[in-house]
Every structure is written in structure tokens, then in C-alpha cells.
């Protein structure tokens, strides 16, 4: 599974992209984020406030209860501020 981080999530985790293999009990976005927090203090800090995080799975917006699967591209980012 490929995880992408943007904006302050990228800065706080210290990475823009990582490839991971979460255990099979990680089935949805909320579970994935919880598991990612264990990857280090930067991740724990970046992912602390789940209400500030938006998600896309395979470049489609998704919710915290959306299912994730091996091979997915999961992007985590704050609310968008383009335009």
C-alpha cells in the first residue's frame, strides 16, 4: 500500500510518500491512520487530530470508514486551499 502525505502532513511525518504493509486487521482509513501513528513520533504528531485530515483512495475522495486494501494509493492531507 502506498501512502502519500501533503502539506503539513508531509512536513510533520517527514515524508511525502511511503510504501507500507499494514497487518490484515487494518481494514479502513481510521484503522490505517491509527496504525500509521505507530511509525514514529512525527507520524503520531501529524495524525493526532483525525478531524483535520482528509483522505483520498486511488485519487478519489474517501471517508474515515472507507475500506483500504493492499495495492491502494492512500493520500492524507488537510482541507484543500486552491484557487
Amino acid at each position: 500500500m502506498r501512502i502519500l502525505y501533503f502539506a503539513w502532513l508531509r512536513q510533520r511525518t517527514g515524508t511525502g510518500e511511503e510504501t507500507i504493509e499494514p497487518p490484515p486487521e487494518v481494514r479502513d482509513v481510521a484503522g490505517l491512520i491509527e496504525w500509521l501513528k505507530g511509525r514514529g513520533p512525527g507520524h503520531a504528531e501529524a495524525l493526532r487530530d483525525i478531524s483535520a485530515i482528509r483522505v483520498a483512495i486511488n485519487q478519489e475522495f474517501a471517508g474515515m470508514d472507507s475500506a483500504v486494501a493492499p495495492g491502494d494509493e492512500v493520500a492524507l492531507f488537510p482541507p484543500m486551499t486552491g484557487g
Binding site: L4, F6, A7, W8, R10, A56, Q59, A75, F77, P78, P79, M80, T81, G82, G83
Partner: protein, 159 residues
């Protein structure tokens, strides 16, 4: 229909001309150009850096354009959005619509910029001189996008 995500600046006149060149059936072209302002809240802005999600950005912008074309009878649309480091006064984005009738072009133009603000994966980092900070999403932008949620252009009466 065209979507461009690029680092370089763009020529507004040339971009708008693309929508009408060789056409004789277009009654109006509406456009909006967004620029970097030198103030943000109470802070001075030295520069702004736009980050985006390559791939998803282009597909979301294309989808926003397709939604506009589904809602209004448009003869052409154009979205150009820059990324990278920009200084105050620089252009960030252009949205433009062409239609036989002005109301359709004007409404669709407003729709494009409102939807783009909340649905295209861009993030703005400001350098205020006191350090960098990520621009927070605005509730007013969510409200502006929500106006269009119901679908038909007539639903603006509910704004």
C-alpha cells in the same frame, strides 16, 4: 474543454482567445483570475507556495469542468492552475467559460471557481516573514461550494 496544471504563468488574453477563435456562435465569455495578495489576515505575505497532488489534480479539475458542462449549455471551458512558489501580484488560477448566452457563462464561471476551491487538491503555504504557515480552509469557501450542491442553476435562489 481544457485543464492545465503548470508552474509557469499564463497569458490571459491568449487563453481566453482559445475559447472563441474561429467561432461565430459564442455570445459571451466569462472569466475569473485569482492572484496572490500581499496580505493574509493581519500578516504580510512575502510569497506563497502551492503544493498539489499530481494526477488527482488534473482528474478533479476535469471532473469539475464536466460537471459545469452538464449543468449549463457551454461551448467551451478552460481551467489553468499554477503550482510552486508565487509572489504577491502573481496569477494563480484562471477559470473561463464560453456560452451562447451570458447568464450561462457567468453562472458556470462562478461555479468553477467555487468548486475548485474546495474540490481540487491544492494547498497553500504562506511565507509571512514571521515564518511559514499553511493557509487554513475557509468556512466561506465551503458555503460558496455548498450553494451549488443541489444541482440546477436555478437553485441559486436558495443562496
Amino acid at each position: 474543454m481544457a485543464v492545465r496544471v503548470q508552474r509557469e504563468d499564463f497569458d490571459v488574453g491568449a487563453a481566453l482567445a482559445e475559447l472563441t477563435d474561429g467561432r461565430r456562435d459564442i455570445g459571451g465569455v466569462a472569466s475569473f483570475v485569482g492572484l496572490v495578495r500581499d496580505v493574509s489576515g493581519d500578516a504580510q505575505v512575502r510569497s506563497m507556495t502551492l503544493e498539489h497532488y499530481p494526477g488527482m489534480t488534473e482528474s478533479m479539475l476535469a471532473r469539475i469542468e464536466a460537471e459545469a458542462k452538464a449543468r449549463w449549455p457551454l461551448d467551451g471551458t478552460l481551467i489553468i492552475h499554477r503550482y510552486g512558489r508565487l509572489e504577491p501580484g502573481e496569477r494563480i488560477v484562471l477559470v473561463a467559460t464560453a456560452s451562447a448566452h451570458r447568464r450561462h457563462a457567468l453562472e458556470a464561471c462562478e461555479f468553477l471557481i467555487d468548486w475548485l476551491k474546495t474540490k481540487a487538491p491544492f494547498w497553500k503555504l504562506e511565507d509571512t516573514g514571521d515564518g511559514e504557515r499553511w493557509v487554513a480552509a475557509k468556512a466561506s469557501d465551503d458555503d460558496a461550494a455548498a450553494r451549488w450542491q443541489a444541482g440546477a442553476s436555478d437553485d441559486r435562489a436558495a443562496e
